[in-house]
């Protein structure tokens, strides 16, 4: 296949009208069941060469379906798609020749090595001889995988897998590169590197489609298609969308006192449609044509100041969806804790060795009552190891881990009874109904009889689960799944709650709702520890520890970490800047 191809009169009028248009989508509908709601409905759009088009939207909005339709891997229920002038239904083979496609989880053979994966895809795509040698050289340098050629793909870190997946997708210089959620499970450093690579590609005229549930990535795109519930809410320059909330975004900062109380109070105002925590500040968005309530009405104390803030894409996105759901958690049954001095979680010189490899090296921290503490770090840095040790799931090599004053090594079951744990993928039983799940987890935590019935009643009321009790957990919408998982974790009223990447890959609305529950619980004295590599989650933390290469390289409030990397060139570092800067500083100090 050469670079020239023929566009017959019947093929792609739009493509002829605008030579930079790569994909033309016309009234596209895709339904998986004849009776069910469509995954995509009446979508008409186009995708241009030489730029990144972001496919943005919450989980289940239809992003993956659209990707697969463009790759010719699914048949449209109605409407048509043309990729480089080829119809994806009748000319799928021709489409496959001109696209590169990286599915979710990267589509690599984990039991083949880096170079074997590359060779396989080179053979499949007909990249041979001199061309192959040159392409391999270029890609291995480009992805920095040269040193890892003999390593099995399954043994690579998330970031390296992603780069290898990208390399396999780009072997034959595709005209259109489809990347389905490439940033899931990838830390900020690898994510930045990936964006750099993608920018290099668009410089060569490739059209890139990047799907993501992370709205900060939309700001990197020349154009975005915002999908929600099978429909496109917005298509075009993300800056245009962001501009729709100009003048409506504010930050409450300074001595604001209890930021969580402030956020709750502010969200009670009808004018305020969105509010999130950003380190020590609170970010508020007001509705269209509304005026900002006074400081007193917002519940802000005297020492604080309210300033106008630069809008982000996420502000506009939430505003477009009508603001965040203002559901309040009914945890009144839980007694308010007044003890602010004790340390419910203590890690003393945690060390864990696997053979000669030290996964966690002398890590110490304390978490105060009513505090949200974050364990941050790139993939493979050791934060999961620390987390597992704190849950009593891994034996320590040395040091000690205490929960509510109890040593996890000496009295593991008593200590574990004091903590609630919510795993990354919720670990619910998908084939059991909501009430069966609650029943099971209550039993697993040792509740029975009247106590069990009370506990279940309490969480059902608190998380508003009554309407879904008979629905199987697997079929619940994401937001309900999250609430159910949280219900199961706190049914035994633990004073300490551990969360493992609780809102990764979750859309902004569901994420806000989740954190509003967590904030309400923290306000009543629960202590929370969370592992994450998502800065959105880290922003909710009072303090964070940055774990890198098994060591605790920085600990403090988000602002303290940001201050550590503040320079003349970077006067307002974000938490992500801090994360990357501190990791690089640590690398620099080593060499």
């Amino acid at each position: 296949m050469t670079a020239t191809w023929h566009v017959s009169a019947s093929q792609g009028l739009a493509a002829m009208a605008d030579p930079t248009t790569l994909v033309t989508i016309d009234a596209l509908t895709k339904s998986f069941r004849t009776d069910g709601l469509p995954a995509l409905s009446e979508l008409t759009t186009s995708i241009k060469a030489g730029q990144v088009t972001g496919l943005v939207g919450p989980d289940g909005a239809g992003k993956t379906t659209l990707m697969r339709l463009m790759a010719g891997l699914m048949l449209p229920s109605a409407g048509r798609i043309e990729v480089c002038g080829f119809d994806t239904v009748t000319e799928a083979a021709a489409v496959h020749e001109v696209i590169g496609y990286m599915p979710q989880r990267f589509g690599l053979y984990e039991d083949l090595s880096v170079i074997e994966n590359l060779t396989l895809y080179a053979d499949l795509r007909g990249v041979v001889g001199q061309q192959r040698a040159e392409t391999f050289d270029k890609l291995l340098v480009f992805t920095d995988l040269e040193r890892f050629q003999p390593r099995l793909a399954g043994a690579l870190s998330g970031g390296m897998k992603q780069k290898l997946g990208l390399a396999c997708a780009m072997l034959k210089s595709p005209r259109l590169l489809l990347l389905d959620e490439p940033s899931v499970g990838v830390d900020p450093i690898s994510r930045r590197e990936l964006w750099k690579m993608v920018y290099t590609l668009i410089g060569e005229g490739v059209g890139v489609v990047w799907s993501t549930a992370y709205l900060d990535e939309a700001e990197n795109c020349a154009e975005v298609i915002v999908l929600n519930e099978a429909r496109a809410l917005f298509q075009g320059d993300p800056k245009v969308m962001t501009a729709s909330v100009v003048g409506r975004v504010f930050q409450v900062r300074g001595a604001i006192g209890d930021k969580r109380a402030l956020l709750v109070a502010a969200l009670k105002r009808p004018e305020v449609i969105d509010g999130v925590m950003q380190g020590a500040t609170v970010r508020l968005v007001i509705g269209n044509d509304q005026t900002l309530p006074s400081k007193a009405d917002l519940g802000a104390v005297e020492g604080s100041e309210v300033v106008s803030a630069t809008p982000r894409f996420e502000d506009a996105f939430v505003a477009m969806l009508g603001g965040q759901p203002k559901r309040r958690l009914l945890l009144e049954t839980r007694p308010q804790s007044t003890d602010n001095q004790s340390l419910p979680v203590t890690a003393k010189s945690l060390t864990k060795c696997f053979g000669s490899f030290t996964a966690a090296d002398n890590i110490s921290f304390d978490i105060k009552r009513g505090e949200i503490f974050g364990l941050l770090g790139p993939n493979g840095a050791g934060k999961s190891t620390v987390f597992k040790m704190m849950c009593g799931l891994l034996r320590l090599t040395s040091g000690s881990a205490l929960v509510d004053g109890l040593d996890l090594m000496k009295s593991p079951s008593a200590a574990r009874a004091r903590l609630g744990y919510m795993a990354q993928k919720f670990s619910l039983y998908g084939d059991l109904s909501v009430s069966q799940n609650l029943d099971f987890f209550a039993g697993a935590y040792g509740l029975s009889g009247q106590k069990k019935r009370d506990a279940i009643k309490r969480v059902v009321a608190a998380f508003d689960l009554a309407s879904q009790l008979q629905v199987n957990a697997g079929g619940l919408p994401l937001g309900f799944k999250q609430r159910l998982a949280l219900s199961c974790a706190i049914m035994h009223e633990p004073p300490v709650l551990f969360l493992d990447e609780p809102t990764s890959g979750v859309d902004p609305l569901t994420r806000r709702e989740f954190w509003s529950f967590i904030n309400a619980m923290v306000a009543r004295g629960i202590t929370v520890m969370v592992t994450t590599h998502f800065m959105d989650e880290a922003e909710y933390c009072d303090r964070v520890a940055l774990i890198y290469r098994g060591k605790n390289i920085a600990i403090g409030t988000p602002e303290e970490l940001q201050n550590m990397v503040r320079t003349a060139e970077l006067p307002h570092p974000t938490l992500e800047d801090a994360f990357i800067g501190l990791v690089h500083q640590h690398d620099g100090a080593l060499t």
């Binding site: 296949m1 790759a71 891997l73 048949l75 060779t119 895809y121």
Partner: protein
């Protein structure tokens, strides 16, 4: 692109897929277990573990009135390798043992045994067997009858009498003169092993691609359905041949099964069956997208019918008509029949040709269905 270039690209893709699949097979310990350890295990199990030959059956001999004749009969029973004989004078002693399964049967010689024998009357021998295990029960009564007949003859000869009155049956068991069940169990288990490898392993490796999401990346390349199928077939076929070699070597040198037919016929015939087994695996893989489901279906569609209807464990001729009719579409039935013939009889064209044709027809149908059902898309 020229036709030649296109064909070249196609061959390159097939070769790449075969290499990839072979690497995955070699690196996956579970496929090596299925390919080499499982055959050996199943062969040992079927070859040594299961046997329909009764050796050391425990029987109780009740002699109500001991005499030289009864002692002689006891001796002749004990001297065969088939029985472990316990003796008593009161049959009630043995009732508990029989109920508890410590004895498989009772032989009772009545009090007037010696007198009736001397008179030339029919002597009173009662055989009581544990009918809860009909197979052993039949064996015991058969063996006791045989032992009785030979003892009577021997006694008559010793006494210088002729026993012209007796009808003498002299059975000859052709092809398996020692009547060792191992000789037909081992070829039968080879059928099961190859079915497992062909169907189970193939279904697993395809469903694994669905489960791990790799098929999505593969389908977005110029790879076509046929190329994908060939890529899966070739390495698994080769692994099946290796397992077949293990089986044949074990049959010949561990179990000392005679090979009366030719090795060529054996390999060719087995290869045909292997292709059918692979076809079943591929067909399963067109519907099963998880490895768990694939293995369940393979067990249900390939292994169990092979076990029940191939005729090597259970006599198909004695099954109800509906099941007999069903057995006609069980490939293992034809394979076991052919294999037993090649091993124990020889290259008998009148058996092998129809069996081969039946297998080829099934293979053709399976592959046609697979090609039709294999999806080039994800929905």
């Amino acid at each position: 692109m020229s036709t030649q270039g296109r064909a070249g690209a196609r061959w390159r893709r097939i070769r790449a897929l075969v290499i990839k699949e072979a690497r995955q097979l070699i690196r996956d310990p579970s496929s090596l277990v299925v390919g080499f350890v499982l055959p050996v295990l199943l062969l040992l199990l079927f070859g040594f573990g299961i046997s329909f030959d009764a050796t050391r059956v425990k029987v109780g001999l009740v002699i109500e009135a001991p005499s030289p004749d009864t002692a002689w009969f006891f001796a002749s029973l004990s001297n065969t390798p088939f029985f472990e004989v316990h003796q008593t004078t009161d049959r009630r002693v043995f009732y508990d043992d029989l109920a508890a399964g410590r004895l498989n049967g009772l032989i009772a010689l009545s009090g007037d045994f010696t007198e009736r024998l001397a008179r030339g009357d029919s002597a009173g021998v009662q055989v009581i067997t544990d009918g809860s295990d009909p197979n052993t029960a039949n064996l015991i009564s058969g063996y006791v009858l045989g032992a009785w007949n030979s003892w009577i003859q021997q006694r008559a000869l010793t006494a210088g009498q002729t026993t012209a009155a007796f009808i003498t049956i002299e059975p000859r068991f052709w092809y398996n003169p020692e009547l060792e069940s191992r000789r037909f169990l081992v070829p039968g288990s080879i059928a099961l092993i190859l079915m497992m490898i062909g169907a189970l392993l193939t279904a697993l490796v395809v469903s694994r691609e669905w489960e791990r999401g790799t098929i999505e990346a593969l389908l977005a390349t110029p790879v076509g359905t046929v190329e994908f199928i060939i890529g899966k077939l070739v390495p698994n076929f080769l692994l099946g041949l290796c397992a077949m070699a293990v089986c044949i070597l074990a049959a010949l040198f561990v179990f000392h099964i005679p090979l009366r037919g030719s090795l060529i016929a054996l390999i060719a015939f087995t290869s045909v069956f292997l292709i059918v087994a692979l076809g079943i695996g591929l067909l399963i893989s067109t519907v099963a997208r998880t490895q768990f489901l694939a293995s369940q279906i393979a067990l249900l569609l390939a292994f169990l019918p092979g076990l029940y209807f191939s005729g090597f464990l259970f006599e198909v001729a004695s099954m109800p008509a509906a099941l007999r009719a069903f057995s006609a579409i069980v490939p293992a039935k034809y394979f076991v029949r052919g294999l037993q013939t090649i091993f124990l009889v020889g290259d008998v064209a009148s058996v092998l040709v129809p069996c081969t044709l039946a297998l080829l027809a099934m293979g053709a149908i399976l592959f046609a269905l697979t090609a039709r059902n294999t999806r080039q898309r994800l929905d």
